[in-house]
């Protein structure tokens, strides 16, 4: 199975590219690929349940794994208890693991 790792660093409320990247993740998942979206830096602002980012919930329903960098969450004062259901906090080690397994990686 083809694996993809989409690393998203942009604030979803600042750039439309966040939504575009989620569209790409959904399309890849629709073709049967194993897709992980890893939120880093201001990208983790989308991980909050109260942010109500529809794209994130949609990805969760498609089986896309959505991870948020624990460090970036702590930097921004976002407790893991406040994450959207589709999002799981993870260390950067998870990103290294995915790279080591040969996932095609793209950084936005």
């Amino acid at each position: 199975m083809q694996r993809y790792l989409l690393i998203e660093s942009r604030d979803p409320f600042e750039s439309r590219s966040f939504a575009r990247r989620c569209e790409l993740a959904a399309a890849l998942a629709g073709e049967g690929a194993e897709v992980t979206v890893f939120l880093v830096e201001n990208g983790v602002l989308a991980a909050r349940e109260t942010a109500r980012v529809r794209e994130i919930e949609h990805l969760g329903s498609l089986g896309v794994r959505v991870l948020a960098d624990e460090f970036a969450l702590r930097e921004r004062g976002i407790p893991t208890a406040q994450l959207a259901r589709a999002v799981r906090a993870a260390p950067l080690d998870a990103l290294v693991t995915a790279l080591g397994k040969g996932a095609k990686a793209m950084w936005n």
């Binding site: 960098d69 970036a72 950067l92 290294v96 693991t97 790279l99 080591g100 950084w107």
Partner: protein, 135 residues
């Protein structure tokens, strides 16, 4: 031989959060037993520049020692040391043309001068490659 990852960085120091994220990623990869090949392109060739100096913080009344301002060349050297301690390879290549444009020639020991052809070679020698583009 341990598997290697190639990482391409483009941002100059002190400008983007992604520089710190990239260094954290390099550290995490070393801790997980990966050798590393880093290709510094464009502004990123200034990361290992040794002429950078930490400073005190007069606004907050902190001395140089109290401020403990980290500079990127110290991080690069620390990552190289971390790799040696783990018996892993760590290759850092600065794009030569980018170095000449910026005059960024005084770099930490171990950082080499090269060209995009090195990036191609590095990718071929690695299990995976990640490009961290500038905005």
């Amino acid at each position: 031989m341990n598997p290697a990852l190639t990482i391409l960085m483009m941002d100059a120091p002190y400008e983007q959060a992604r520089t710190a994220t990239a260094f954290r990623l390099l550290d995490a990869a070393l801790r997980r037993g990966f050798s590393l090949k880093v290709f510094a392109y464009e502004g990123a060739v200034s990361l290992p520049l040794t002429l950078q100096k930490p400073h005190a913080n007069a606004v907050h009344g902190r001395t140089l020692e109290e401020e403990a301002h980290p500079t990127p060349p110290v991080w690069v050297s620390a990552l190289m040391q971390s790799a040696r301690e783990r018996d892993l390879e760590f290759e850092w290549v600065n794009c030569g043309l980018c170095v000449d444009e910026r005059g960024a020639t005084e770099v930490v020991a171990g950082a080499k001068r090269g060209s995009p052809a090195d990036f191609w070679r590095m990718a071929g020698e690695s299990v995976n490659t990640l490009v961290i583009p500038t905005r």
